[in-house]
């Protein structure tokens, strides 16, 4: 009788896919996601697209906050510079979209070097504050650099065509987002189990010990920050394409906070958590809407501004309740479920 899930070597512990059923279900999930755009209606599809784009961004932040334990309060700044990096190169200078995506990663990465180099020497809230300041200052910088960014007018962005394949339709664009999300997931999972990833986690868990073990703290923190900004920038490019129009207003400060909420609700420090958290946070407004539509008959009658605000309040309430009763996040729920499933009917 199976009594549990035991690992016998380090290799087994770090392998990404450790059993045939996991292989099977992962494949099924990917296939389902590939087919989904042809089955779903445009509304449901827009949720899938948003989830996939947000996953990329959340995984980017996860490298910094989840793995390395550094807090950024201004990640929307990298999302924004990424979107502009793409829009300027592709829409303004007519370069191929792939170059645009590269630029969407490199521009925020360069910005993160400037922000990070001086501020990562110190511990604590320091990076959180400088990134917060960065995300406000970059708005003014973009608005002022009219010759490059069109200022407040913004830049219209077309759906891309890569190697002769057009991503014009909603379904095709979702496939592009899906491919990016899967690539990012693999990249971050592999970073996590490499020397670099172990160094990140060592810094998070105990930086003094990490230093003693010969990890160059400043260099590795900076590396985590730059990688995180690069990935977030790619997400920014996809988000800009989705909006079809890049301007400063499409990227409110709230997105920085929402990204952190995703990581915490999902379960800090885990790529799976970032994915689960994204699904929950993106679908939460829709879920509250559904709850409300149950009472829609009365709602229509007494409809006022106030009733609409109840939905936002419910959203805040769910976040609070989640943190209160499940501080390990959705990943914690997932692990509990898995253990119960494997051990049932025994507790241990």
């Amino acid at each position: 009788m199976r009594t549990g899930d035991y690992k016998q070597s380090y290799g087994e512990l770090v392998t990404l896919i450790d059993s045939p059923p996991v292989w099977l279900w992962s494949t099924v999930l990917v296939l389902a996601l590939v087919v989904a755009p042809y089955v779903l209606n445009a509304y449901a599809l827009s949720f899938l697209t948003i989830i996939l784009i947000t996953v990329v961004g959340a995984l980017g932040l996860n490298i910094l906050t989840g793995y390395t334990g550094l807090i950024s309060l201004g990640h929307v700044g990298f999302l924004l510079t990424g979107a502009y990096g793409y829009a300027v190169l592709v829409s303004k200078y007519q370069l191929p979209p792939l170059v645009g995506f590269l630029g969407a990663g490199l521009v925020p990465a360069a910005a993160s070097l400037i922000v990070g180099a001086p501020s990562l020497r110190l511990k604590g809230l320091y990076l959180a504050i400088t990134t917060l300041a960065f995300s406000f200052i970059i708005n003014t910088v973009i608005l002022e650099m009219r010759w490059l960014t069109n200022g407040a007018r913004g830049i219209a962005v077309q759906r891309p065509e890569i190697f002769g394949v057009s991503f014009e339709s909603d379904a095709a664009f979702t496939h592009l987002c899906l491919a990016t999300a899967i690539l990012t997931l693999f990249a971050t999972l592999n970073i996590r189990r490499s020397r670099v990833g172990r160094a990140f986690v060592a810094i998070r868990d105990n930086d003094t010990a990490a230093r003693v073990m010969g990890i160059n703290l400043h260099a590795y923190k900076l590396l985590a920050f730059v990688t995180s900004a690069f990935i977030t920038g790619i997400a920014g490019a996809l988000y800009g394409i989705y909006l079809s129009f890049v301007n400063v207003e499409g990227f409110p400060f709230l997105l920085s906070i929402e990204a952190l909420a995703i990581l915490i609700v999902g379960g800090l420090g885990s790529a799976l958590g970032a994915v689960l958290g994204t699904v929950l946070i993106v679908l939460l407004p829709e879920a509250t809407r559904l709850v409300f539509s149950l009472f829609s008959a009365q709602m229509d009658a007494m409809f006022t501004t106030g009733a609409q605000e109840l939905k936002s309040m419910l959203y805040g309430l769910v976040i609070i309740l989640f943190l209160r009763f499940q501080p390990r996040g959705l990943v914690g729920v997932w692990h509990d479920l898995k253990r119960t499933w494997v051990n049932w009917p025994l507790r241990y």
Partner: protein
């Protein structure tokens, strides 16, 4: 010269409001180790309650101030008891996220309870204009600067001489030892939330008096945050002074460099200051450089 003085006085007036809210941040950080992201929203709620009292009940300045202080105390205590205390012992990160959830709820409650229109707080005084040598200032603006200075003195005395003040400093310095010495940490936390709510609430009411109430008022929290970083997150008095400095910086940047610079001047300033003094101008030197 007149131009300079007018900028100076306007900068001090808005800076005093930032300072009051910044002190609200610092009081909570000092006693609980948390950054309260709902500070701006709490400020806004208190101001709206004051407005409701002034329109439905009495517009008398004493009644309104008393009601506002009572409302602020209850708001702080309720939030601490219902939302924050259950999070005691959870990771700091999760607790800070709770304040973000709280901010969302409070922000939405404005349109839920009141409406999206701007409103003016009228309590008979504070809106009049005093002119000295061509420089104009509203009486409410003079009052807020005076209030900030008085409050700074009072808080300094409180932490220095009163038993509760010393207890709060003890909990902040080392909560475990403080606990062993017989100081109730939860009582100190409750007190901190109530005090923070009142101090920031005063700032909110003054803002409503000199400017106006609107559902966008919570953004004051975002302006006051650099002030508290500048003064030192754990420095209550320093944060108040930080607010004045940010107000002055904004106005001088707006008046001499250009209007586009005004809103980011505060953030630009803290970046520079943090490079030199990462713990803020008046914060305690507790920097780990690993």
């Amino acid at each position: 010269m007149q131009y300079f003085l007018q900028l100076l006085i306007s900068g001090l007036a808005i800076g005093a409001i930032y300072g009051l809210i910044a002190m609200g941040f610092a009081v909570i950080y000092k006693s609980t180790g948390l950054v309260n992201f709902a500070q701006g929203e709490m400020t806004m709620i208190v101001a709206y309650i004051a407005w409701t009292v002034s329109t439905t009940g009495s517009g008398n300045i004493l009644v309104v101030s008393l009601a506002a202080i009572l409302a602020a105390v209850s708001l702080g205590l309720v939030i601490e008891r219902v939302v924050m205390r259950p999070m005691l012992g959870e990771p700091v990160f999760a607790t800070v996220m709770v304040t973000i959830g709280l901010a969302v709820i409070l922000r939405s409650s404005i349109n839920f309870i009141w409406d999206a229109y701007p409103h003016g707080l009228d309590i008979g005084v504070g809106r009049g204009i005093v002119r000295v040598g061509g420089i104009g200032v509203r009486t409410g603006q003079i009052a807020v600067i005076a209030t900030l200075l008085l409050l700074l003195a009072a808080i300094w005395a409180f932490f220095r001489y009163s038993k509760t003040g010393v207890a709060m400093r003890a909990v902040a310095a080392d909560d475990r030892t403080a606990l062993l010495m017989g100081i109730s940490a939860t009582r100190v936390h409750a007190l901190a939330w109530a005090a923070s709510s009142v101090i920031a609430g005063i700032g909110g009411v003054f803002f409503a008096l000199s400017y106006d109430l609107s559902p966008a008022m919570f953004q004051l929290g975002l302006k006051a945050f650099p002030a508290t970083i500048l003064g030192g997150l754990d420095a209550v008095l320093g944060s108040g002074i930080g607010g004045l400095l940010i107000g002055l910086t904004e106005n001088f940047a707006g008046g001499y460099i250009g209007s586009g610079m005004k809103e980011v001047a505060g953030f630009a300033m803290i970046i520079v200051v943090l490079m030199i003094r990462p713990f803020g101008l008046f914060g305690e030197r507790d920097i780990e450089r690993v």
